[in-house]
Every structure is written in structure tokens, then in C-alpha cells.
């Protein structure tokens, strides 16, 4: 079964259709993107993120008929993510095709297939009865993982960390797992330690927005704490990676989002004090047990 989040952005003619993730799970609606400005607005407002922003980037290049300016604009809007590597990939693919559209579609189809292979590889190293703690949302890949695990005769239950402030865990991951009738429970982000202490989970699986060849990663805020606690409780912590680079992770800009977003979903409850909102954190390689790359390569610590 596929989640609508597996391919949340599609190109139809000269319009990009973007699943509005900020409306989920209350409404499954799509917004139309016809220009670079529309795309940047959707990106800045978190209408799509993660794999969705990869798709949005490729399709916006198709609409705009160029790559470098789109990459620079996307980078300005979401500074932590590496759009320049995507730009290089698209330029490379375009050399072997007649149109940018054809090149983009070829890359996207390839990436989606690779995500299913990556899930297979990860399933091979997870326990027989996997009780998996997750953070944020990896666009349908947990469903691929569940199918891979059950295909290998294993069982799986997901423990979904709600992932404040945007609640991607509750709104997106729990929603897509429930739709697929996959066993899942939601927990507060601050319950990560207690589920580890009680032995309710036996592994952690996360995505990553950036990764280095040394194994350091940048991912959704809260990932570092989860990794550090998993390391303390000797629970394996696995990361899905793509395009690891030879660079110093500390030099990557950590996006800090508008603080009013910290108070989203609170329905006007309470005061609105001054707040912090770093939207990502860095997890050093020493707290990570294994890296499963989009290339299919599995590396364990």
C-alpha cells in the first residue's frame, strides 16, 4: 500500500500539484504551483518538506526551464537542505535525455525505487520483532519498511514521536500508518527516554536532511536527543541517508523558523512568551549505529 505522502508532489501538464501537509490529517487537499514564486511560497510555508521538497525542486526546474536559479532560491528559503546536489543530479540526467521533464521524471522514478530497496536493506538488519521509535515523517518509507519486514517474516510496531512544533509525527506518520493498518502508537517527544528504559522499543529509525561521509547527520529537531538516549540505553539507532558529502557538518546553516510556529496547534491556549525555534539539530556519528543510504549501501558502526 502506498501513502499519499510517498509522492506528495506531482507534475500534471504545466502545473505542479502539492499535497498540503499542513492541512493533514484534517483535510487531504492539493495546492497548485505554476511559477517559481508559487513553489517558494509552498516551500516556505511548509506545505511540503523532506522528499516532497525534492520533488518540488525537480518539477519547478521543469516549469522554469532552468536549474541554477531555482536551486539558489530554494536554498535561500530552506537553508539547511542541499538543493545544489539535486541541481547537479538533474544536470547530469539532462545530458542523457531530450528534455528537462524527461530527466526529472527519470530521477524521481529512480529515487522512489531506491527508497523501496533502502527499506529492504534496513529491514534485513532490524530485529525479528521490531519495535521501532521514529521521529518526524519519511514520506511513506515506513510503509515500505513494514512491507519489507513482514515480507521477511518479521513483525513491526511503530512508536511515533509526535514531533513538535509541527507535529509531523502525529499528523503525518501516525496518519499514514493508520491508513495502512500498521500497528502504531503515538508518544510525546519527551517520552523517548521512558520507552527506552521500559524496553518498549528495540530500535530507532529516522530520516536525515543532510549527512556527511563521516556519518554525522542533520535531521528534525529532537533527533539528537533521541540518538543520545538510545546510545545510553544501547538501543540501535539507524538513519536513512542520501547524498552524504565530505564536509564539516558544523558549517551547515541550521534553519531557525519563525517563533510564532512554536505555538501552532495550541488553539490560543496560554501566553505567547519569547521562544526559540531551531528546526533541525546535529547528531554526531558516534551516537549512530547504522546508515542505510539511498544507493542501497548499508554501513554499521
Amino acid at each position: 500500500m502506498r501513502s499519499p505522502l510517498s509522492l506528495p508532489v506531482r507534475l500534471q501538464g504545466h502545473t505542479i500539484s502539492v499535497l498540503d501537509e499542513t492541512k493533514l490529517p484534517l483535510e487531504e487537499t492539493y495546492i497548485e504551483v505554476k511559477t517559481l514564486d508559487d513553489a517558494l511560497q509552498a516551500l516556505g510555508q511548509m506545505k511540503t518538506r523532506a522528499f516532497g521538497q525534492v520533488l518540488l525542486f525537480f518539477y519547478t526546474c521543469v516549469l522554469a526551464g532552468e536549474i541554477d536559479e531555482v536551486a539558489a532560491s530554494f536554498k535561500k528559503t530552506r537553508p539547511t537542505f542541499d538543493f545544489f546536489t539535486l541541481a547537479d543530479a538533474l544536470k547530469g540526467a539532462a545530458k542523457g535525455t531530450s528534455t528537462l521533464r524527461e530527466a526529472a521524471i527519470r530521477i524521481i522514478e529512480g529515487l522512489d525505487k531506491k527508497r523501496t530497496v533502502r527499506a529492504q536493506r534496513l529491514a534485513e538488519i532490524l530485529p525479528q520483532e521490531a519495535r521501532i521509535l521514529t521521529i518526524c515523517n519519511v514520506n511513506g518509507e515506513l510503509i515500505y519498511l513494514y512491507e519489507a519486514l513482514t515480507g521477511q517474516g518479521k513483525t513491526a510496531t511503530f512508536f511515533v514521536s509526535e514531533t513538535r512544533p509541527y507535529l509531523q509525527g502525529t499528523r503525518l506518520t501516525l496518519w499514514e500508518l493508520r491508513r495502512a493498518r500498521i500497528p502504531a502508537r503515538v508518544l510525546c517527544d519527551n517520552q523517548a527516554a521512558v520507552v527506552m528504559q521500559k524496553g518498549l522499543i528495540n530500535c530507532v529509525v529516522t530520516g536525515s536532511d543532510r549527512s556527511t561521509d563521516k556519518g554525522d547527520i542533520i535531521n528534525k529537531i529532537g533527533t539528537y536527543a533521541m540518538a543520545r538516549l538510545a546510545h545510553y540505553f544501547t538501543i540501535p539507532f539507524y538513519v536513512l541517508t542520501q547524498f552524504p558529502q565530505a564536509l564539516d557538518i558544523e558549517k551547515i546553516a541550521i534553519e531557525e523558523r519563525p517563533v510564532h510556529e512554536v505555538f501552532m496547534w495550541l488553539d490560543g491556549k496560554g501566553p505567547r512568551p519569547e521562544a526559540l525555534y531551531p528546526s533541525f539539530d546535529i547528531t554526531p556519528a558516534e551516537y549512530i549505529s547504522g546508515w542505510i543510504d539511498i544507493s542501497g549501501e548499508v554501513r554499521c558502526a
Binding site: 484534517l26 513538535r164 503515538v186 517520552q191 523517548a192 545510553y232 496547534w265 512568551p273 521562544a275
Partner: protein, 156 residues
Amino acid sequence: MRLDEMKGGLLLWGVPTGKGIKEIKERTQDNRDLYVLVPEMRPYLFGLEVAGRLIKEGIKHVYATDNMLGILFFKQKIKEVLFFYKDLIDKNFSGICGSLYVCLLARLHHVPIKTMQGEKIILSAQATSLLDEYMSFHYNDMLPAEDEAVPEGIIR
């Protein structure tokens, strides 16, 4: 506030009594550069309640969601934790949901924890998500939000 602007922070966890609020006030009067950091304290959002009390007392503070605490410890933005526990039973401090998370992170980053008696609030373990009003959760979908025991050894 940007992360770079924040320096030595005093992290609060749990719900302070009047005595606790007095202690926080004295700390901030003694050190004007001290940032009082108030986490959200899900699922009950005690952070908003505590922030409201600090505002009334004129105590400057900064709010963060619970999952931001990792990066704050990592970047050495927290110098001390004030843990307002509910009970001390058999060398275990009993605190609100998330107490083990905060105390372990503090210990792993060598940040001292000062314990103080906090409010003994009795709450339903069925509190779940901020989306309760929108999504109908089955009870089995959620992990009960219970008080947590923090062994004294983690704190001392």
C-alpha cells in the same frame, strides 16, 4: 530569539510551588544575564502555565518545545536544571511525564540538576496529543502520559 543569542540558561522542569518561583526570581535578580528556559512539558503544556506565572512575577524567560532541549544541551546553552519533582520515594524522584528525558540529557551533558519540591498535580494519563480536538484516537494508539521515576543516582 535566535539560538546564538542565548547564553547560560536555567532550565525549569516540573511545576514550581510559590517557593520555587521565589528561588527563580532570586536567581534572575542575582544574575541579569541568566535566561530562564521554560520547556513546553507535553502533553499537559505546563510550560504555558509556568510561563504565565513568570510573566506575572516579571521574570524574563524563553520558551522551547521539549524536543529542542537536546540541541540546547549539546550547544552548552543550559548551565543548570531546576527539577521540580512531585515525590521522593525509595531514592526515586517522581516527576511529570518527560522527567527521565530531561534528567538523563542533563547528566549525559554534565549539567547539574538541583531538585526542589514542586506542585503535586494529579492528572489523567489519557492526555494525548494537541490534536485531540480534531482526531479521534483509539486509546491503544497512544502511550499513557504518566509520572516518571528518576533514580537519585542520575541526579546526584
